[in-house]
Point group: C2
Chain length 482, copies 2
């Protein structure tokens, strides 16, 4: 038996994908579980990714005319009663604030005191409280469209949690817009979904399927939900982002009316849309390998790591050269880490690999003498090593980063395509998922009416992911999902 | 009797300063009270200021080596019991989460369900939960210093609230650092306090007093608290930012130990520091006038507003010229608003004044013909109007913005100096505050031992603000405060 190549992550993806995922996060020092049930601590290496995501996407939202604002963390319980359909879908598990003070009991232990007349919930999403504001802010068609967005934290009391993918507290942006009519709302949903696609492909380097959700998978209260569904390396789906055409549901629940161009009174049409820290979980599961994380260069906190390999007699020379290379790269706007920690070089190298830094540059005495660098791509590994003059490398660095991006994106597309299968019957689904095959199965939407479908869906924990636009709405993707 | 000049804000500062403050916020469309007790909604015009504050200060923190991370919103009640001194100062009023589910009662009304075994509080500050992480993350002196920061929301259940100044939920950054020794912690407190001073003077355009707090005004659990105290136009103090030397208090409470350079085991020395959305309240009360907000140019969402004044026969010409001017300013990196709303020009003008946009440019047919602009500074008003060629204006615009900044800063310094009085006895305090005079009184610190002091402090609602560094710690500032 051939000796198995040693990998930096144990177990490998094939051995145990969920556990591999947790170990990648740990090895990359991105996040950890906290003492608060279901909540994670996002460590600097993880938070830097989210900051980069925010920074990039926020610019796009502002270009589209969206304004950021901030609405309260707490929502009066009464608001949740206003929109029955929404409540039924959401309100089951959430953090409820019932007291506003702590007092010491007879043993000196702090206990809740100051019971509130009306409890609050920590927002699981903000449609109701933003709708309440819109009802005051919108008077006339001149106030429309109103496009608001909030970057923040929300909380849903999750029973089974997994870092980034499903945590009680998570971070997102939530857009909430109001339009004169259905066409405006639909156009908004489509525009934002296109922005999401652009973001996932051009920044996070993965592709998926854009489409419309089946009615049972819609956001509570929505007329239509549109989604971007990506495929993980275990073949499961991850809903990376959604846009919701809320029709007049929330306008009616929150009484958001406007005077139209003819002087009549109308309900606005609202939308909401979001992506969250979940997308980071997707990025890990799409790009990572058995040596750990592979960061898409556009999101990486550090795009290039420089490892100086010094000996007693050349420290000044090597460090001086390494600093020169770092400065030249920084001058090009590249995010560079010069790793000067007191650590063995192999340890530093594996640290950089596990953190997924896209390009690794090694500089020792020989390189410093020759004014050269050796560069290795994280996505291609050791075999991609090439030695270049420092001028050539600095000139080529942006192109190399783009090449890493392109490779990751093209891998994700190939994986998605290779693992998306066509089916035409419930038996096809049974055969595919029953055999433990991984991936998506695309079937005609007419199959949704087949009475035999439900049992198979249940047996293999399947769900409908979306009806891809690319298929003209005639097919639906069925898969296991996160 | 001379007819009083009409002002955009009613009442004026002199007539009713607290009400003027609320009206300025309303007129500038910055924020409003929400249906959630004590929480505000920060509207786009207000949130843009906070975003600019974050963007600028975050860069400085990163330059200093601080890393951003994210810790849970909820804190286990048990954690609050770990640090008795801290708890006594803080835990009285906070939002307590006691349930994790909603259920419908017999009337179909949602009620709290799923009682938690151990309640959580919504973080009023994060020393305890970050300390818990530090106790796991810090092993050796090699892990030190550890400099962490979090941008986020916190909640303290305030009884009397005022937008930005004191709200139940507010927004801040909270830095939490650990050092090997007291010197490291002190140097950190001083460095950050200097950064705060730089931020307030160079970005927010106001000055204040840097100093150390008296023991009774320290943060709960701190060895020393250092503060930047600013003077509002009603003479009251606002603590704009603080840094805390926490000694080993939290290290002991959270068990944060490290192996020192000699192999021994030591407690770390921690610090924490923050400024919050409160500083926006201060900025309003320092710079605003009876026509509303005056924005420091470096924070203004829009630094220059262009008001095109069109007639039926020149709309294309005037708009074309206005767009050209806007483009030329944008090319210089200036944030420009071309106000094309369907509104009367005087209404647009007053809107720009009330929002405090630093420079207002008026462009009508005459200006378009002559390729000129008329420019008015918000801080100096109508009398500062000058007409310039477009080239001259574009060339001069950054200088004009800097001039507005300098004027605001110098006004704040003059006001502070004119209204800071020296006293030497309790009687001096009585005479000053008893006569209803506004401002700070600086007295020898030895006065703190005078038994007659307390009654006067109480009678006039005074507090010690800080012992300014500039006075070598020999004097203390006493004032009314927000």
């Amino acid at each position: 038996m051939a000796k198995k190549a040693r990998t930096a992550i144990t177990p490998t993806r094939e051995e145990n994908f969920p556990e591999w995922y947790q170990q990648v996060i740990k090895a990359a020092d991105m996040a950890e579980n906290s003492p608060v049930r279901g909540c994670m601590i996002v460590k600097p290496n993880g938070w830097a990714i989210w900051e980069n995501m925010q920074r990039t996407f926020d610019v796009w939202l502002k270009e589209y005319g969206v304004q950021n604002a901030s609405f309260p963390l707490l929502i009066p319980l009464e608001f949740m009663n206003r929109e029955a359909e929404h409540v039924d879908g959401f309100a089951t598990e959430c953090a409820v604030v019932t007291h506003h003070r702590l007092e010491k009991d007879e043993n000196g232990k702090l206990v809740p005191a100051g019971k509130l007349e009306e409890p609050y919930i920590v927002r699981p999403t903000s449609e109701t409280i933003i709708g309440d504001s819109m009802s005051r802010w919108i008077q006339s068609y001149r106030d429309l469209p109103m496009k608001l967005n909030q970057w923040g934290n929300v909380m849903r009391w999750e029973m089974r949690t997994r870092m980034f993918l499903r945590t009680s507290e998570f971070f997102w942006h939530e857009g909430h817009c109001a339009f004169e009519d259905h066409d405006g709302a639909t156009a908004d949903c489509m525009h934002i979904l296109d922005l999401y696609e652009k973001f996932f492909t051009e920044v996070m380097a993965f592709d998926g399927f854009k489409g419309v959700k089946t009615p049972d998978e819609r956001f509570p209260g929505a007329n239509e939900t549109y989604a971007f569904e990506a495929m993980m390396q275990d073949g499961k789906a991850l809903q990376a982002a959604t846009t919701h055409d809320l029709g007049t549901t929330f306008a009616k629940g929150c009484n958001i009316k406007y005077q139209d161009r003819d002087g009549g009174e109308q309900f606005v049409h609202t939308t909401s849309w979001a992506f969250s820290t979940r997308a980071i979980g997707g990025m890990i599961m799409i790009h990572g390998d058995d040596d750990g994380l592979i960061m898409p260069p556009k999101l990486a906190a550090h795009q290039i790591v420089i490892l100086p390999m010094v000996k007693d007699d050349n420290e000044a020379q090597v460090m001086g050269f390494a600093e020169k290379v770092a400065a030249a790269l920084k001058a090009k706007g590249i995010r560079v880490l010069l790793d000067t920690r007191e650590m063995r070089t192999p340890d530093k190298m594996w640290d950089a690999i596990k953190k997924g830094i896209p390009l690794r540059v090694e500089i020792g005495g020989r390189e410093a003498d020759a004014e050269q660098v050796s560069c290795v791509r994280r996505d291609l590994g050791r075999e991609s090593k090439e030695t270049l003059s420092v001028e050539a490398f600095v000139e080529k660095a942006e192109g190399l980063l783009q090449a890493v991006h392109d490779e990751l994106l093209s891998r994700s597309r190939k994986f998605r395509d290779d693992n998306t299968h066509e089916g035409s019957s419930v038996q096809d689904l049974k055969d595919f998922f029953g055999a433990g095959k991984i991936g998506f199965m695309k079937v005609p939407v007419t199959l949704l009416d087949d009475p035999a479908l439900e049992a198979v869906m249940k047996e293999y924990s399947l769900s409908t992911r979306c009806m891809p636009f690319a298929d003209g709405g005639e097919k639906v993707i069925i898969a296991k999902a996160y």
